[in-house]
Symmetry: D2
Subunit: 252 residues, 4 copies
């Protein structure tokens, strides 16, 4: 029709080739959402397992995602450098990942929360970011895991002071102002007998999703390999993880 | 931390000022999704009302959306030219709208479909497109409504031939090959006594959402004005709609 | 060859359709360049006529430039909204205009400056900017002409204080600090008997280049119309210019 | 002023960090320009040395260009990955490089061509392209050098057939249609006793500009190191050049 010219106003937004593509989603206003849904403080295991569940759905759909990392109300999806999915169109990638993540979050809600439904539809924003080198993508993931550590150490101490020592939020904030990591570890240990390093790894490190080849038993007694998505809660800042998973950073 | 430099790899994507911003969402693989969920053919009123419900949620959240238009598995949201929401960041707009639309679609599913849940999480893609002039944005909406008309006339005839005349899909396709609008109207009328122009407007025209000031009765007997989102299924290609809604195209 | 894949790393950069495209060039380090080439202060007529000459060359080459505006070391070229030159590719437009402007500036240097050559190759940067509406493009040009006025009034007064009243640059700057337009007009008039409004229009208003149809005498005694580029130094902030040139803002 | 808002219509165009930035300039319509200025066929040494001269000017100005490569009417400038010049703004880089190249080309024309002036101002377009990895930037340069080789072998044979064997251009074209490199080498050798591999390296390989530390004799008899731009005409497709210049691909 004579109206079709309007199609030409769409812009091309293909990502630079040979670069890591990260799509990160982050919950919109989850400070309020977590409060309204009585998330446990500082960490709600139901909320985290729902996040992981939603992320698994995304990774099952997009085979070119080689690794995902999640913590708090956010998840990062790393597409392999060479992916041609959606011709690397930036908006297609961010909206499809973000929509599927959101959809699965609502869809699987009741499997993680006893209440049958959230109070209103939860929302996640999404963005596409490019990283040219292996060092850059590692630093990106380190950035998110370091963020997880800092926030979790703070939140753990903050809520211990409130829930166990009876401080008000204002008093707890005051007490933690200007403290370093060591100070918080010390407060936790001396005041609450909590050895922070013994806290569950999922809370301290976040969740890493990667694909593993696992052997599947065949009826005839043999086995075959199958790719499966597994969850880990290990350190991804140091070299160990990358040495063990060196296929991730080499061209496939 | 020393990893924070990776933040700088994000790119600015602000939309050109003083242009209409459209965010269009479209169901991913809804040919398959509609079949698997037994959508009625050619149109499923439950599906359309669910789409409208999800769109209402988006419009309630984003006050700067002045009009939305939906048909089939898609919805277009028109932000007013001057909007500063998310500083006009393109990815923020498309992902937030797309995520909320998807979330509401799953959230309100059971209110429209007897089955309690979809078989899997449905997905919508999203995109941001700019239109500089009033004529351009009108032509954009005309493009979508003309698309609605063409598809609906085709589908109505196609499914009448199959469901009422017993043709196979291949035979129906064959019969419609090369036909013009007039031919399809004729087939509908002569073979099935269907006057296409009497078909429900929602199917022929799609759904327009706009805000209306409605009077609200006050306890003291007076009234006050309140803005409310209303659904219409009128023509938006001709001038009449735009004359009646001339506030839409003038700066607010 | 097997290296050709690198071509795919180039990005599409087409300008939004139906928008005014402005390419502005600006001399690089012309504070230094003007000093080293003994530009007269505050305005050097040779420099300005060379700028105009270079701009004429650009406008002769690109027929879709409907108006150009120049002042100081800068020139803005306005392409008509519908232009398809270089498929509206942003970098093609800015680099071609910028290169031709620079080339002509060096090429025609000796016609304007007695010295046969500049001391080193002069450089201009370039940029492409989009304006959706007629009001926006008028405001853009008003911005540049207002800038011309403000700078020229300041410079005229500044250099009168130095060259005619014997102040040092520091003293002149001090004297003008915080003054309004009226104050500068007053200084010029009372101290130097200069009526600023009688200063040459080219200096106060800058230079506008537009195309005019002019009658050409034919050998047979008849006439035909020919398009020619003319220079004006009139106000383009008010309505008069735009009323007289209303073809500029209507679709051609 | 109230017009300043138009500044906001400019878009950010910063290049992705940690990527090689190439600015390539290419003569506009040099098929015509070379003919009109009687460039010798197939290669004009004056033209090539003028190109090299212009490129040297660019490289002297932009210290972050670590390598430049030129052939025919084009030159590519490679900025080091970490450059922060103009905050990596794409249009700033392409227009400044392109303008300076053009300016120097006109400026130094008379030093290379006996005629004092070109017939009209020559123009070069410019573009910015990003390459994430060392392999990509090497492949980019290999692409340009392979292009040089293919064109030069073709042109050398083509013009030998015309200038030495008296063929018309159409006949020469016909004769070369479908020939491989080996065929052209054979024609050159058997018909014109030209050993293509003995042709000047500048014509076969193009020109590479790199910086070299050279010892400068000091008055006191000692020496100090100074960086200087040198021209080479070697192969840059194989590893040898990169082994000898391994500082180029390592972070500086
Ligand atoms: N209590 C509790 N809160 C959580 C948990 N996971 C995330 N949250 C909350 C803590 C933070 O207030 C919020 C995430 O921080 P953000 O920086 O993403 O802020 P928020 O989502 O409110 O705003 P945004 O829309 O992202 O700008 O979610 C949890 O397991 N338990
Ligand atoms: N039966 C039925 N089908 C519908 C209805 N609404 C939409 N659909 C189907 C018809 C089309 O096959 C499909 C929409 O067409 P699209 O061009 O968006 O294709 P699809 O979503 O399959 O692929 P895509 O992922 O968008 O490229 O949805 C409905 O009310 N009833
Ligand atoms: N004396 C004199 N100076 C002029 C004339 N036209 C322009 N200029 C000088 C005055 C300013 O210092 C300079 C233009 O100002 P800009 O803001 O463009 O600064 P400049 O080119 O130095 O730096 P840039 O590379 O553009 O950031 O050129 C003239 O006719 N006479
Ligand atoms: N005779 C002669 N011609 C040359 C020499 N160097 C370059 N040229 C000519 C040969 C080609 O026709 C032309 C360069 O080819 P291009 O693909 O850049 O085409 P052209 O510049 O005509 O068009 P463009 O504006 O770049 O699309 O310049 C030379 O040394 N001698
Ligand atoms: O935490 P982020 O990455 O979402 O960063 P932010 O400070 O929330 O900024 P924005 O979401 O506006 O990019
Ligand atoms: O119908 P649209 O607008 O989604 O157009 P398309 O042909 O599906 O293309 P794409 O979704 O790839 O932009
Ligand atoms: O005067 P302009 O438009 O060049 O503005 P600027 O302040 O010089 O900024 P830039 O040239 O860096 O865009
Ligand atoms: O040879 P190039 O790189 O200039 O490629 P082209 O085919 O001339 O294309 P364009 O200059 O239009 O990008
Ligand atoms: Mg955020
Ligand atoms: Mg959040
Ligand atoms: Mg968050
Ligand atoms: Mg589509
Ligand atoms: Mg669809
Ligand atoms: Mg659709
Ligand atoms: Mg500037
Ligand atoms: Mg300047
Ligand atoms: Mg200037
Ligand atoms: Mg080209
Ligand atoms: Mg060329
Ligand atoms: Mg060329």
């Amino acid at each position: 029709s004579k109206f079709e010219y309007v199609r030409l106003f769409e812009t091309e937004d293909r990502c630079l080739p040979n670069s890591w593509i990260v799509v990160r989603v982050d919950g919109k206003g989850f400070h309020k959402f977590s409060t309204e849904h009585d998330y446990e403080k500082p960490n709600d295991l139901r909320a985290l397992s729902l996040m992981n569940n939603a992320a698994m759905s995304v990774m099952e759909e997009f085979k070119d995602i080689c690794l995902a990392y999640g913590q708090s109300d956010e998840y990062s999806f790393v597409f392999r450098k060479e992916t041609q999915v959606y011709s690397r169109r930036s908006a297609k990638l961010s909206t499809n990942v973000c929509s599927l993540f959101t959809s699965a979050f609502v869809y699987y809600w009741s499997e993680h929360f006893p209440t049958s439904k959230p109070l209103y539809p939860p929302v996640f924003d999404g963005r596409t970011v490019l990283y040219p080198s292996n060092q850059n993508i590692r630093d990106y993931l380190s950035w998110r895991q370091a963020d997880c550590h800092i926030n979790n150490l703070y939140n753990t101490t903050f809520w211990a002071l409130i829930l166990k020592a009876g401080l008000t939020p204002v008093e707890a904030e005051q007490k933690l102002k200007g403290t370093l990591s060591g100070d918080k570890n010390e407060i936790l240990f001396s005041q609450f007998s909590i050895n922070y390093n013994k806290e569950p790894e999922m809370l301290r490190k976040g969740t890493i999703l990667v694909r593993r080849k696992v052997p599947i038993a065949l009826p005839d007694g043999g086995t075959r390999e199958k790719s499966q998505i597994v969850q880990q809660h290990t350190d991804i800042i140091g070299d160990e993880f990358w040495n063990e998973n060196n296929h991730l950073l080499t061209i496939s």
